[in-house]
Symmetry: C2
Subunit: 430 residues, 2 copies
């Protein structure tokens, strides 16, 4: 049974994602209507530069006054694909106040102000959906929030930034250094002119905050996420990883502590075994590995960015929100009932791969081993290579708290016989 | 805001999956209540053998009269994990009539009578959810139906049977023959005493019917699915596959025709390149690869069977159905508006890998090539190996209709110089 009055949708932003959303709304109008149970109509598009030609969008729909658009009062859904904190935040809350539900792709905003935005949505009885904010087209938020709603998620570990995965994959497969691989990513359009948000892990950290919040039913803000970028990863690190049967990925890892009483969220480069499903994620693809009590190990894989993939996620949300509206209901809102404390990085339990340049003389290994023992860190393997009076020592530890591991490294640096710490990298995925 | 009157749930069947559902409902009661917004109460459990001790289930809840249980009239949700057509079908429709929504894990029933069951659910305003029916714990139905609701799915290709994947993986990694690998699967509990449903592809065909229906918004019944089992796959086939840089998987493939006007669904063993994400799915794991217009290529991976993983999927549905009930709404029902015709196997466009035993004399290749040309099938590669007056010819074709390929093979068999067709296998995933 099809309702004939169309649902009205406004689009905030008409860049790579927004224009694709508008295109699909037009070209697939009949399919969307059939799936929703009512036609959807593009009621307005807020842009910064109205002069730009926008194919397929009637000029009279285009406005530079986003505030007036969201205040119209006749909108059913506002799609926010502007990004950034302001004016997106104010526009979203204004949309709620004036009767519209919101579909957003804004990871930075959700990671920083998710709780307040959810509260505003609840207060006005609106939906706030944001599948596109994490891992582009990959259905992730809905599976975590709904499919696994009867399960207990213990870990979410993923490659959630395509730019850095492209760079690391290139370094792995060609032996290139970081700068060379970054230059290629920039030339091919995988990296932005200023790649800071990607390579320093800010983008991945925002996604980690959102994923941890949903997985653990706990508010996790961007500030709660430990973050290390991948600009220091070297070709030598990849060579070390290969010797261990590993590769290096920039991972977002959200974990429930073994005792269940707290959670952690972090982003950093890490070695993972080649046998791990995440190790074979190539190019700019994303993948997220989920471990839960009952389901066991799940993985979700797909394109993590791009206009069309992100639009796919936005439109999936749009269909859901429109269906909810017709049902007179709202979908699942924020679930933060567990309210677990977020522990600092020092409490994370992980493994280290440490390369030391040491003096090539007797007793060095004994000294180094003593430092590990004093910090309660158990050594898994040691590999020693001598050359011309210099020697290198590669130590891989068993699992220990990150604080103990950091303390160990600090103490190693102060040993006379340790000339330098060539590299430190966490080892994950076992 | 928590409602205090509990939602009442009845369980039909208390085997491997049912007992795990009951266990999680008890041990995770607080979490489920928080996520639903009301407590859930196990109101009754229908079993065949009441004498069996069922840990954690109060004896007074257990009954052998499933019909009386679903007719109680005070149930909110009935969870059907009996399997098979009857009595499951009648119990489900009776549950709808008496006020309950249904969560089912019954692939055979859904594949055969999905349309009628959906109609019954709609008639009474109930939900019918069945995430557990396809690929166990892997969230698949919800992502296809909801996350990709704004996209156009063109292909769903998956490993949806863990038993056969275990057997094929074993043959691939050890060089074992089919019987040897099956024996090991049986010994380890991956195959049932009568493995017919798995190895002949009936189980996968039921899942293909369900997936095709959801992906293409079209009714696809089990009878519409072309089915070939994997009992004829030999160690020699794996050797041929390796030479091509491929492995062999039993695939369920649901495709939209290139012109968009029809769909196909099929289950058969096929060679796929080692570089394809499905090639590295090991052991009893399942994975489903989805291609859509906007999202591009997605993959969903996880355990496809087992008590706890299947229970995870059932409980995710249970939470959704309970939430819908509290909202006074129902979730998305059957979507069959596209009503595309389902084409027969002959219309499928694919590639063949054909091994022929031929006479080792001049002119044989020309004869063979002529047969391909007469049937309009273009050859990609030919490899010829002579030995003791006998020769083998391995032909890999370009894409052609399955009918043309079948016709080609029939004509080859009738050639005097062709002593036998050693193997035929489709090649997918490019």
């Amino acid at each position: 049974m099809m309702r004939t009055r169309p649902l009205k949708v406004a689009l905030l932003g008409c860049g790579v994602v927004g224009s694709e959303v508008a295109r699909i709304m037009t070209t697939h109008a009949d399919d969307l209507a059939a799936r929703i149970g009512a036609p959807v109509e593009l009621a307005g598009v807020a842009v910064r530069r109205p002069s730009k030609v926008r194919e397929g969008i009637a000029p009279e729909l285009v406005t530079t006054d986003a505030t007036a658009l969201v205040k119209r009062g006749d909108l059913d859904v506002v799609v926010e694909v502007i990004g950034g904190i302001e004016p997106a935040r104010t526009l979203i809350t204004t949309a709620f106040e004036h009767g519209a539900s919101v579909v957003s792709a804004n990871k930075a905003l959700l990671a920083q102000d998710g709780a307040a935005l959810h509260a505003a949505a609840d207060e006005h009885g609106r939906d706030l959906y944001y599948e596109a904010a994490v891992a582009g087209a990959i259905p992730l938020i809905r599976p975590l929030r709904e499919s696994l709603a009867g399960d207990k998620i213990n870990r979410v570990m993923g490659i959630v930034n395509g730019t850095t995965n492209f760079i690391l994959d290139k370094m792995d497969s060609t032996g290139a250094g970081y700068q060379e691989a970054l230059d290629e990513a920039t030339a091919l359009g995988y990296a932005e002119a200023d790649p800071t948000a990607d390579v320093e892990g800010f983008d991945a950290a925002a996604k980690a905050a959102i994923l941890a919040g949903i997985a653990f039913h706990t508010r996790v803000r961007l500030d709660d996420v430990y973050r290390e970028g991948m600009t220091e990863v070297t070709a030598a690190d990849f060579a070390s990883a290969k010797e261990m049967g590993c590769t290096i990925k920039l991972l977002a890892i959200c974990e429930r502590a073994a005792d269940g009483g707290s959670v952690t969220a972090r982003v950093h480069p890490a070695m993972i075994p080649l046998s791990h499903p995440l190790a074979s994620v190539r190019g700019a693809y994303n993948a997220v590995f989920v471990e839960s009590d009952a389901a066991g190990q799940l993985m979700f894989y797909g394109p993590g960015a791009g206009g069309a993939p992100t639009a796919s996620a936005v439109l999936g949300d749009l269909v859901a929100v429109c269906r909810n509206k017709l049902n007179g209901a709202t979908g699942p809102g924020e679930s933060a009932y567990a309210a677990l404390p977020v522990s600092p990085m020092g409490d994370v339990v992980t493994r280290y791969h440490i390369s030391l340049d040491v003096a090539d003389k007797p007793g060095v290994l004994a000294q180094v081993a003593t430092v590990f023992a004093e910090h309660g860190v158990s050594i898994d393997t040691v590999r020693q290579q001598g050359k011309d009076g210099e020697a290198s020592l590669v130590v891989v530890t068993h699992r220990a708290s990150d604080a103990s591991l950091t303390g160990t490294v600090e103490a190693l640096r102060s040993l006379d016989t340790v000339r330098g710490v060539a590299s430190i990298m966490r080892v994950e995925g076992e």
